[in-house]
Symmetry: C2
Subunit: 308 residues, 2 copies
């Protein structure tokens, strides 16, 4: 079987695609479309969104060349397909496009969870899941929608690839080259390892930020208090403005890992609270000092003006 | 008794001081010294710090004109005294300087809690507490120390003043003019109201961020996970790098308000967790949606490149 991928077989360091289909033209899908054009990865970009107004906006902004009236039409004839939809929509979308998928096409997603996406690809694509390379770009942020799309979104960002067991090496290599061409740094991980790590560094912080803002704003004097909130509040709660549907999906898809991290967090909160209630201020200070030092020792991998 | 304040009695809109004493030359004290000079508020700035190396660094950086070998020496002869030390140190410091305080001198602090500072001023200054105007500039951040001091730190920032019951109006007016002269926007509040509000919008987020980083980094795979953390983690945990001593003090000084906010937060966390465990994804999404909307509706009062 031919494991080389169509048009770019002769250009190992910089793959080239005749037709990129972007399914879901939001911040990530739109930015990928722009970045792929910018990097010379794709000659033509076809976009599909459930919402016709999104397709029109994406065309008007020059993010896509053409709109398609269905995911199947967009994917048919494409040699690169990017699924940029909430993780719960990936399985249904793969089912819709399967019949139109070229044998040579490479299919990628951008979902924030990976074990569930791997399972959905196995279920919905069967043997064709060999063409599907699960990807998670650590980029995005609280501003969703094609309006915020920009070609530099992936620049300097990490993309985690969690290969399917049946992915030919060449597909994973090409996926890596694609992300590198748009400026990202690629890591390869197991799906389960990915989901455990991101429950800890991303999913739990989102849950905590949502719960904090919920508690803070729903108390009787909350709106008055909000007037006094400053930059500390602003940064701590930035992720609480993130897209509700996307995050419901992530909590559902990665629930057991998130709940496990939540238990560790609740234990820490209980420890801090106990020291306060017992007036053990020296112990409390030493807990704070350990946290403060750990945070200072962490070297932010991303430019300070970026978001995710 | 003369309630006008010395040298600036004739210049109501822009007070002027012959000698500003800054007790505690860290980020806030150093920035106030620079801003006061920059705004033409003070002719001469004398600094005191427990650590001689801090005084030397502040002099070398041009933050203060002279160093003093004791708080009393610094405050003696000053017509404006700023206490920029952790809140637990304010009472002891007031006791030390009381004997040297001019009848005309205005004394201010920059503490993040106010009920305890008001009580300390009453106890340590007695009737002279009329000269003490409690202030809380909402500025600072996770970078502490005179090295980060800058004259623009208070620009556009809010300063909450919680007057003492025995403050003559003129002292509160002059304190207001001082903060306005360095670019800040002043709000007047009751100390208790201040402490309740800041427990909600600042102190609890710090406690939560400390506990999260503590839990996250102390798990067996924590340091590996940290490698994958992105900008969401960076912003959510920025305040967890804050100064441990200062924050122990704040949690001690404002313990009951912080614990009250913590209960509201724990209830919210328990609610989110219950929806996850029961698989009520629609309800979970609606909780997230309320939080996300509240955060989007909040208009950050501060420029995005600033910190606190």
């Amino acid at each position: 079987m031919d494991t080389l991928i169509g048009a770019y077989a002769d250009t190992p360091s910089q793959p080239q695609f005749k037709r990129l289909a972007v399914l879901g033209v939001g911040l990530l899908g739109g930015s990928f479309a722009l970045a792929a054009k910018h990097a010379g990865l794709a000659q033509e970009v076809v976009g599909y969104s459930k919402s016709p107004s999104t397709i029109n906006a994406a065309k008007a902004a020059g993010v896509i060349d053409h709109g398609a009236d269905s995911a199947l039409h967009a994917a048919t004839g494409a040699d690169l397909v990017l699924l940029a939809v909430p993780v719960s929509a990936i399985g249904p979308l793969l089912k819709q496009i399967r019949i139109g998928l070229s044998q040579h096409a490479l299919v990628m997603d951008v979902g924030s969870t990976k074990s569930d996406v791997v399972a959905a690809a196995q279920e919905c694509l069967g043997e064709r899941s060999r063409q599907f390379v699960p990807c998670h770009p650590i980029a995005g942020g609280e501003h969703s929608g094609v309006h915020y799309a920009r070609s530099a979104l992936f620049d300097g960002r990490r993309v985690v690839i969690t290969p399917m067991e049946n992915n030919p090496d060449r597909f994973v290599e090409v996926a890596t080259q694609i992300w590198e061409a748009v400026g990202a740094v690629v890591s390869i991980m197991e799906p389960k390892e990915h989901d455990a790590a991101f429950a800890a560094v991303s999913h739990l912080p989102h849950l905590v930020a949502f719960a904090y803002v919920y508690a803070m704003t729903r108390q009787p004097k909350g709106s008055g208090y909000l007037q006094l909130a400053g930059p500390g509040f602003r940064d701590f709660t930035r992720i609480a403005a993130s897209d509700p549907t996307m995050w419901r999906d992530i909590f559902q898809a990665n629930g057991s890992e998130v709940l496990q991290q939540l238990q560790l967090f609740k234990q820490a909160i209980a420890g801090f609270e106990a020291q306060m209630r017992q007036g053990n201020w020296t112990v409390l200070e030493s807990l704070i000092r350990q946290a403060s030092q750990s945070r200072k020792d962490w070297a932010s991998p991303s430019p300070a003006d970026d978001i995710a």
